[in-house]
């Protein structure tokens, strides 16, 4: 039971993040600071005594949001604007972000109009990662955001508190990464939906509370039987940046005979991949973290000519002993659409099977997708025992 209890709580919070925030606010009387994905350092808001919450795509269909944003935008931006227009985000005292995605900028403008009583704070992070001034500019951006947060809360965020928050967040990330390692090794049996709720709830919950639950979970992991040769095929999930893939989609993969052993989803390993160095000045540390994240798990929303996402994926799959990759592309996600041909060609060259699925906020044709996934699983299963190029290091892969 001890293993299932934390998982149940994570799933509960993941299903109703704003409900959690409202209860937390009622209980503590402290502010809730929302942020847009994917690079705002929540440590800043935490150190200021607030609850940092990464705004999540809602399951609700878009209604009033249609009056603010066109339907040819990604589900995350449309849903966020819709939630703002419906008043669902009223629990947020402020929203902070620094990410530069053209659709997100449109959403931010609309949210600012829809929530006139909510302070929306923005300072654009540099997304060109190779420039001599990238580190300095990233640090400056975080410092600006910190100053605006201090102005808003009318209290300083002191360095000691920030260091404590950084240490706590690092601890939280490390525990989740341990779960990832255990999943690769077969020491823990977590479904993809369960793993997602572990990460997603971490984006929402009070970090102390979440970390305590993670420790409880890890202490209670039941022993697993060794996998046999009839085990499901091992897949890596890739893509889906700002929003979480729908749990029913993840469950369907498993129903089709796949087991997810790794991912680079934002609601997955991307979120917890990188720690903030604790031996640096905290603002230096945050800037370092921002840059390290993109070399650790390259993101197509950044441009960095000396890092290859495709090579990273092939390397990650080798480490995870994954047999195939399912690419989840959120419809209208421009960075992903730009980069996908690179990934496709690299995987074809390496002779590693992959399947592209386009996801939508509403109306996904699940049965059509199921047929495609079943075929993919069958194809990968037939390749078992065949030597694969993916087992070899690939050019451009980070050491």
């Amino acid at each position: 039971m001890a293993f299932q209890d934390p998982l149940a709580r994570f799933a509960e919070v993941s299903a109703d993040p704003l409900g959690y925030a409202r209860a937390w606010k009622a209980r503590t009387g402290r502010p809730v600071i929302g942020s847009f994905p994917m690079n705002f350092p929540s440590e800043l808001a935490h150190a200021a005594g607030a609850l940092p919450l990464i705004i999540q795509e809602s399951d609700d269909p878009i209604t009033v949001g249609h009056a603010l944003l066109f339907p040819f935008y990604c589900g995350y931006t449309r849903s966020t604007v819709d939630q703002a227009a419906k008043g669902d985000l009223a629990v947020l005292d402020a929203i902070m972000f620094g990410d530069h995605c053209v659709q997100l900028l449109g959403a931010a403008d609309a949210v600012r109009v829809a929530l006139p009583d909510t302070q929306v704070i923005f300072f654009q992070l540099i997304s060109s990662m190779c420039d001599p001034w990238t580190f300095g500019r990233a640090r400056e951006s975080f410092q600006k955001l910190r100053s605006e947060l201090e102005d808003f809360l009318e209290r300083p965020v002191d360095d000691a508190a920030l260091r404590e928050s950084i240490a706590l967040f690092n601890r939280n990330r490390a525990l989740i990464r341990e779960l990832y390692r255990m999943r690769v090794d077969g020491r823990v049996a977590l479904t993809a939906a369960q793993m997602q709720s572990v990460v997603k709830s971490s984006m929402v919950m009070d970090k102390h509370e979440h970390t305590a639950l993670l420790e409880e979970l890890l202490a209670a992991v039941p022993a697993q039987a060794a996998p046999d040769s009839t085990a499901p095929i091992r897949v890596h999930l890739s893509g889906h940046f700002c929003q979480a893939p729908k749990p029913e989609l993840l469950n369907m993969f498993e129903e089709c005979g796949a087991v997810v052993v790794g991912d680079d989803l934002y609601h997955g390993f991307r979120y917890i991949s990188t720690d903030v160095p604790e031996d640096l000045d905290p603002m230096d540390g945050l800037a370092r973290w921002y840059m390290d994240r993109n070399t650790g798990v390259p993101c197509p929303t950044r441009v960095q000519n000396d890092v290859d996402w495709d090579a990273f994926l092939l390397g990650a799959m080798r480490n995870e002993r994954a047999e195939g990759m399912i690419v989840l592309m959120a419809k209208f996600c421009e960075p992903h659409m730009y980069y996908y041909p690179e990934v496709k060609e690299a995987f074809e060259r390496a002779d590693v099977p992959h399947l592209l699925l386009e996801t939508e906020h509403e109306g996904m044709a699940m049965e059509y997708m199921r047929t495609r996934v079943e075929s993919f699983v069958e194809l990968v299963r037939r390749r078992r025992g065949v030597a694969r190029a993916a087992l070899q290091p690939v050019e451009g892969e980070p050491a």
Partner: protein, 448 residues
């Protein structure tokens, strides 16, 4: 793939400026120069977005503006082969069609240089001008507002095997934070201007590395004097279109984008805009309108649909509607010449790059649009909901709402795209514009 469909001919209703015909000649000469670049041993730079071309022209580097090439292909209905090549490589048609078309040119270019697995595919058709684009020797990315620009350049670099040197200039969005924030003012504006100018100076060092020569600053100053003068003349002519009937429309200004945006910054562009200004002035003097029976005055919000430029000009003229101004034409392209000090041009150039028509967040942007609507005394706004250009569609609903609530303007939206005509729905445009014009009529009757 889009078939190169020629729109059916409508009876000519638009009284276009005669002086803009010279733009076609200048544009053709410019692209001929680009296509000859390799034969002449010139370095070629690909770039998108901001008009950094004077920096390149001064250094004798041939410049290729990605959007301009895509727009030119679309305007000539020759975008099909490039878009097909892009789609074949896996680029979704929901991507910016400027980028998709330009990336398709890069795919074609690589294919023709490196061969392909097809006995036929590596031979460009004679009329396939997408394959004529010379490959870059360098890439400079300096894109305001739209994240797609930087990613497009990065992908271009990767298409060429990351062997082409690339330089990124980051141009932040003006969020309008702080009580002093406004159009071209406030601490955020000042700090961002300095940030961009410093990067431009680094960009010049990058150019020097490529050419192996000291940067010719005097030449840049000379070119920027021409740009500044051309811009002043253009704005002067635009201002005269507050007259009734309007002597020129948005479609004349769209034809005139190339001369201000990417043609060589010689005295030719000063001559061009002098002639345009003079013709506009003469029309004002004689009362000659760009739409002979001007009954309605409209604002056009959105980027141009290059496949349909002439088609739309005729369509609105047939409705007796003069599209007198637009966000794309009237809020961009060296829009603030007073900021340019030709003797020390870098800061002013950077500031003009920051004044892309989308690079200010909605509080500032909407005020600017409302100001233009009042200045040109429009009856309504037509929104071109550009399917793959979210940079332009982002604030449209907010603008429409404000136009209605603040100025009582009628608005209408139609779907289309910059360079992919498959998104254009003619019947939707017809019914929606007709409905808007009827509403304007009804309002006039009610207040008569």
């Amino acid at each position: 793939m889009n078939a190169p469909v020629q729109p059916p001919k409508l009876p000519g209703a638009a009284n276009k400026l005669k002086s803009t015909r010279m733009a076609g000649k200048l544009v053709n000469e410019y692209w001929e120069m680009v296509w000859r670049a390799k034969e002449e041993g010139k370095l070629v730079c690909w770039y998108e977005g901001s008009s950094i071309n004077p920096f390149l022209e001064a250094a004798d580097i041939v410049w290729v503006h990605g959007e301009a090439y895509s727009a030119m292909l679309a305007a000539r209905h020759q975008e099909g082969p490039a878009q097909a090549a892009a789609e074949e490589r896996g680029y979704s048609r929901e991507l910016c069609s400027y980028a998709r078309t330009h990336l398709g040119c890069a795919v074609n270019n690589q294919r023709h240089r490196n061969g392909s697995d097809s006995a036929f595919a590596d031979v460009p058709a004679d009329e396939d001008i997408s394959a004529k684009l010379p490959p870059p020797d360098m890439i400079i990315s300096a894109y305001a507002y739209c994240s797609t620009g930087q990613q497009w350049d990065e992908m271009t670099s990767r298409l060429f095997g990351k062997k082409i040197p690339i330089f990124n200039v980051s141009i932040p969005w003006i969020w309008a934070s702080g009580k002093d924030a406004g159009y071209c003012r406030g601490k955020e504006w000042e700090e961002t201007s300095v940030y961009v100018a410093r990067q431009l100076e680094e960009m010049v060092k990058f150019i020097e590395e490529r050419t192996g020569k000291p940067y010719p600053w005097d030449r840049l100053r000379e070119l920027m004097r021409n740009v500044k003068r051309a811009s002043e003349l253009r704005l002067e002519a635009m201002d005269m279109c507050t007259a009734r009937p309007a002597p020129a429309t948005l479609f004349d200004w769209s034809v005139s984008i190339a001369p201000i945006n990417q043609l060589p910054c010689t005295t030719d562009i000063v001559d061009y805009f002098t002639k345009v200004r003079d013709e506009v002035a003469e029309r004002v003097r004689t009362g000659e309108g760009a739409v002979p029976k001007e009954k309605y005055r409209l604002f056009f919000d959105g980027i141009m649909n290059w496949n349909k430029l002439g088609w739309l000009a005729e369509k609105f003229a047939k409705y007796d509607a003069a599209v007198v101004a637009g966000r794309y034409t009237h809020m961009a392209f060296w829009q603030e010449p007073d900021l340019i000090d030709a003797n020390d041009p870098v800061m002013g150039m950077g500031q003009n790059y920051l004044i892309c028509p989308n690079n200010h967040s909605s509080p500032i942007l909407i005020d600017l649009v409302m100001g233009l609507c009042e200045k040109y005394q429009v009856d309504g706004i037509v929104f071109h909901a550009t399917r793959t250009c979210r940079a332009f569609t982002n604030p449209m609903h907010l603008i429409a709402e404000t136009a209605h609530s603040r100025l009582g303007l009628q608005t209408s939206m139609f779907e289309g795209d910059v360079a992919d005509e498959s998104f254009y729905k003619d019947e939707l445009l017809n019914t929606r514009v007709e409905a808007m014009l009827e509403a304007i009529d009804a309002r006039r009757l009610a207040t008569a």
